[in-house]
């Protein structure tokens, strides 16, 4: 399919996700606790998309490759080595704003 409103269902039933480095795709997948391989397309990529993918890789949360090394990655991957991705904490933001406005 080309476009769906929400990938939540597909993500929930997947055992492994292979995706481009879009932030939404990466974060949604990681938040569902699914193993993720991020494929970088050197030719099409916008530099800033790479920043998040690189960081997630540094943190050990995703595997990382490009189109030509995908097969090799799939053959040699060790998904158990992937670390869990802790969720963000919007409550810290709420707390910060409350302090700014003296609402605590």
């Amino acid at each position: 399919f080309r476009f769906k409103d929400s990938l939540a269902e597909d993500l929930q039933s997947a055992d492994l996700v292979i995706s481009h480095a879009g932030a939404g795709s990466c974060l949604e997948t990681l938040e569902k606790g699914k193993p993720l391989i991020v494929v970088i397309n050197d030719k099409l990529m916008d530099n800033h998309q790479l920043e998040l993918a690189k960081q997630l890789h540094r943190d050990g949360c995703v595997l990382y490759c490009n189109c030509s090394t995908l097969v090799e990655t799939l053959q040699s991957m060790d998904l158990s080595a992937l670390k869990p991705f802790p969720p963000g904490q919007p409550e810290k933001f709420a707390s910060f704003l409350d302090k700014v406005f003296g609402l605590q």
Partner: protein, 169 residues
């Protein structure tokens, strides 16, 4: 737009009803955000009965990869367009996270502050996608915001005046 909207709704998720009414400003070309916002506000109204919000649209200030000179002109036009809106709403707080739409709104509020018409607190939260470099909106609003929040430590090191709270979305 898309990712920005999802992020900002997450930022709003833990705010109390003191932060009400909420006025959302969207680019006129944005087709998907309105549905997300309405859905968020609907859920919110289930918990907080007096919850209020509104939606306004402004012309998009810049298309992706639009050349510099025409960007300055379209942004100026958007600032002029935003002025009556900001003047009408006179917000106590503007919260934004990076889409081009936010620059003219913030600058118009900043201007109203300089003119002593309304002092608005501008809080900018850079997107979680920005680990090492700031977006263009971020680079501009770093100088005009009261609080500039980044979500990765590298950015905190590069931008001393920024606030680092860890990942908040």
């Amino acid at each position: 737009t898309g990712g920005h909207t999802t992020e900002i709704l997450r930022l709003l998720s833990c705010l109390s009803e003191s932060y009400s009414p909420r006025h959302y400003v969207l680019a006129d070309s944005d087709k998907m955000s309105e549905a997300k916002i309405r859905s968020f506000e609907q859920k919110r109204a289930e918990t907080f009965s007096k919850s209020q919000f509104s939606l306004d649209r402004i012309p998009r200030s810049r298309e992706v990869r639009q050349p510099w000179i025409s960007s300055v002109l379209t942004t100026l036009y958007s600032i002029l367009y935003s002025l009556p809106l900001t003047y009408k709403r006179k917000p106590d707080l503007i919260l934004c996270n990076g889409p081009g739409t936010c620059v003219p709104v913030c600058l118009s509020a900043f201007l109203l502050g300089l003119l002593r018409i309304k002092r608005t607190i501008i809080v900018y939260v850079e997107s979680i996608c920005r680990v090492e470099t700031l977006s263009l909106s971020g680079k501009i609003l770093y100088y005009f915001s009261d609080y500039f929040i980044v979500q990765w430590p590298d950015l905190k090191k590069k931008y001393r005046k920024s606030v680092y709270l860890g990942r908040i979305v």
